[in-house]
């Protein structure tokens, strides 16, 4: 099958998913709300292609075409859609409804949501059987494994098309069931929140928290360096999604996280979060 993917949202994940796809020869139509964001994303994709190639993670030559646009109508002939807009449930509902009205029936619609259940989003699309979630890891062009979430209304045909899509992108899917945060974020977001709370209480510095997880437990990256990579704005949004859907106070974003986001310190993407990041890459 000749894939052509529509990617919604050209932020941290949307741009990086575009890199993964075009690097594997799969053309992409990348959509965001303004041209400035799209221009920045084009530049990022170019650099990410280099990084991935440098590390031997993408074929060295021969990328497919990247089209950037603010017009959803340009998605009419894509073979699948990957939604990666901001983690706000009302926004996702609106965007998913819009895109399901543009694409042909049978076009797989994938959400890259961190924490919103597939079955909740299924209420927003015209054909719930065409919807599922793939939780790509950050950065998706370096990490092969992805979490694949089948909702109760996801069709068999959709699941087989997703298998085909992941093969084209050279990713390995781990299929899990539906529910807030799926597997990874049900655990990871709580750990990040708790780690931030420990810093807030003054019990340990971010460096000490991460050094403990890296040195003692062998994690490649500690929870707070991971939070800076994800984007603290996205961490707070994801925690709110989890908190609202589970009622579990462990997910209520702690004051330190909320304060950093209010101050505009989102982590790597703004140059400062729990750490300072020279040259926001």
């Amino acid at each position: 099958m000749n894939h052509r993917i529509g990617v919604l949202g050209a932020g941290v994940m949307g741009a990086a998913i575009a890199t993964l796809a075009i690097g594997h020869g799969v053309p992409v139509v990348l959509v965001d709300v303004d041209d400035e964001t799209l221009a920045k994303a084009r530049k990022e994709v170019r650099q990410q292609l280099k990084l991935a190639r440098l590390m031997g993670k993408l074929p060295r030559t021969g990328e497919a075409e990247l089209v950037t646009t603010t017009d959803y109508a340009d998605l009419a002939d894509v073979t699948s859609v990957i939604e990666a807009v901001t983690e706000k449930p009302e926004l996702k509902a609106k965007v998913l409804a819009e895109v399901s009205g543009v694409v042909k029936p049978g076009t797989v619609i994938v959400s890259n949501t961190s924490a919103i259940p597939v079955d909740e989003m299924a209420d927003s699309v015209a054909r719930p059987e065409d919807l599922c979630a793939i939780h790509f890891m950050n950065p998706p062009y370096l990490i092969r494994a992805v979490e694949v979430i089948r909702g109760p209304r996801t069709g068999d045909e959709t699941m087989s098309k997703v298998t085909d899509l992941l093969a084209a992108l050279d990713r390995d899917g781990v299929v899990v069931g539906d529910g807030p945060g799926f597997v990874i974020n049900r655990i990871l977001q709580r750990s990040i929140n708790e780690a931030a709370r420990i810093v807030e209480e003054g019990r340990a510095t971010p460096e000490a928290v991460d050094a403990a997880f890296e040195g003692c437990l062998g994690h490649r990256t500690g929870p707070l360096a991971t939070a800076d990579l994800i984007g603290l704005d996205n961490v707070v949004d994801s925690l709110r999604v989890l908190h609202e859907r589970t009622g579990d106070r462990g997910y209520e974003p702690c004051d330190l996280l909320v304060a950093k986001v209010a101050a505009g310190d989102f982590g790597r993407k703004t140059g400062r979060g729990f750490y300072e990041h020279g040259g926001a890459l």
Partner: protein, 85 residues
Amino acid sequence: MTTSVNHAAEIERQLLGFVEKHTKKTWTPDDDFFAAGAVSSMFAMQLVVFIESTFDVEVSGDDLVIDNFRTVGAMTSLVSRLRGE
């Protein structure tokens, strides 16, 4: 002394400056900072960005291999070659 040697020396000086600023360590042109575990893979990308913007070259295709960025010496040769010097 030919001009190309002077150019190479200048390229090397700028590269050493960049690497030292980012690793907060001093290096000789032959030290392998990846083998020394002093830097992450993201650093390789910062090197590519720095080289492209500072020396007005494009690193692509078969040149995008980590061996070209392991040492200041290797990067100096790469830049000199891409500039056709």
